[in-house]
Amino acid sequence: MTTTEHAVELAGLRHVFAGRGRGRRAVRDVEAVANVDLTVRPGEFVSIVGPSGCGKSTVLKAIAGLLRPTAGTVRVWGEPVTGPRRDIGIALQDATLLPWRDVMFNCLFPVELHGKVADEDRERVSGLLERAGLAGFESRRPKELSGGMRQRVAICRALADDPRLLLLDEPFGALDALTREQMNIDLNRVWRETGKTAVLITHGIEEAVLLSTRVVILSERPGTVVEVVTPPFPRERTKELMATPEFAEVCGRVRDRLFAADVGVGG
């Protein structure tokens, strides 16, 4: 452990997806992430926004230990990442629940992987489900749930093994605007009440500003950090906040930087 322990520490992160084949049908090398430096302090909620294909998900996968970056270092709680870690919970755009398991057992999946499921695990999951508005749905199968409910289950699953770091890759990307807003408010509450550190990948500007203590803006591919915006709001975020001029102002700033990043590289 280092003395100044960051939740996440990215230094000079670069990743190139190797091409395949030769001649006309060849797939060229793609540099997804050029040079990303980023630290996330314990208890923060950091969103990473950027144009499509700027390597946002690549950054998240590097933190999750799902891919080995071409260059640079990734540290989580001061330790170099060599593979998936037990103290990381992850939720992806697709809820990816296992259809043959009910809600409770879907949530217990990560717990099972690391040992026997204890009563306290069940209690913790029950508490999470209750907080996510899923009390009473413990023994339902995924096909009986709406898209929004499935995503809530996926987030509860991410938190089930009591991880210190929560990674979210556009978990609400496929939901309608109204459901998404409600989920954001709920996620903010879960984050406050559990005291986790969270990293969210999104292309929703309002979503990023609403949820985050810091918003990291990436450039077009290959991604680098162009700016970090700090929304000056208390940790508790509400629907009312979204209607304020301050909120609109911060969103506008993020939007301007995003478009600048977009045009800057293309032109």
């Binding site: 799902l66 870690r85 992850i90 296992l98 043959w100 057992f105 096909k143």
Partner: protein, 261 residues
């Protein structure tokens, strides 16, 4: 999982009305046409003669004895085909080298109609049930093998990535993500194979056997007792439909009550 929406909709659209009308027309034609054509109804038995052969005065002792033999062969053969198909399907799904090496042989075996294999199986395993069981096993293996193999190979990448992200080992992914996902494809294969099992057992009996549905069909044919022959065919239709729905019910039961682990 559930019935595919397209099939469910087609079933609703057809409804029962059309089926009732067509059945009535068929039954009427069955009664009238044979007498019109041949008078004595010797080569196509009239409806009432067939119904009589299906009634209490029919040879139910013979029918049931034959059915017991045939169903026994079909069941035991299907069991062999199921176990071998699932085991091979998992192996071929997991290993690319095995798939490249063994799958072409499985396809080649499948190209042989079971009835063409029957004489060899009789030479190898005798006139009794064993040769028919072997034949059924060979015929039912392929659909189960193919659907199991596809199930392994087409496991949702997202599921595997999700499990990997939570730190699952390869063995854990296999036991907790891949294998439970095979129940649905195995049942799809089983739905095809259960029909094939019946077909292969009777095909084998028609070639050479000492008991079974294939045998009594030949006996009735030889004795020109066509009403009984038609009665047996109708029983076969009923049994075939019952077996297919049995598999569907079993599938539903297993999918709904699968233990949550």
């Amino acid at each position: 999982m559930t019935v595919p929406p397209a099939r469910a909709r087609a079933g609703t659209a057809a409804g029962w009305g059309g089926l009732v009308v067509v059945t009535a027309v068929l039954l009427a034609a069955w009664q009238i046409v044979p007498s019109g054509v041949q008078g004595d109804g010797s080569s196509v038995p009239k409806l009432d003669a067939t119904l009589k052969a299906l009634g209490p005065s029919g040879e139910w002792g013979e029918y049931l004895k034959a059915l017991r033999v045939t169903l026994g062969e079909a069941f035991l053969g299907l069991l062999i085909g199921l176990v071998a198909g699932v085991v091979l399907g998992v192996l071929l799904g997991e290993s690319k080298i095995l798939r490249q090496g063994v799958y072409p042989y499985a396809v080649a075996l499948q190209a042989l109609p079971p009835i063409a294999l029957a004489p060899i199986f009789v030479i190898w395993f005798g006139f009794g049930m064993t040769s028919k069981i072997g034949l059924v096993g060979a015929a039912t293996l392929f659909p189960i093998l193919v659907s199991t193999m596809a199930g392994v190979a087409e496991t949702d990448r997202n599921r595997i990535e999700m499990a990997t992200a939570f730190g699952a080992s390869r063995a854990q992914i296999r036991m907790r993500v891949v294998f439970p996902g095979l129940v649905a494809p195995i049942f799809s294969g089983l739905e095809i194979s259960v029909v094939l099992s019946f077909l292969a057992a009777i095909a084998g009996e028609l070639i050479s056997a000492n008991a079974g549905v294939g045998v009594i069909l030949q006996v009735y044919q030889r004795d020109f007792r066509l009403a009984e022959e038609f009665a047996v065919l109708l029983i076969l239709v009923a049994v075939g439909l019952a077996l297919a729905s049995l598999v569907r019910v079993a599938r539903h039961f297993v999918m709904e009550r699968m233990p949550d682990e």
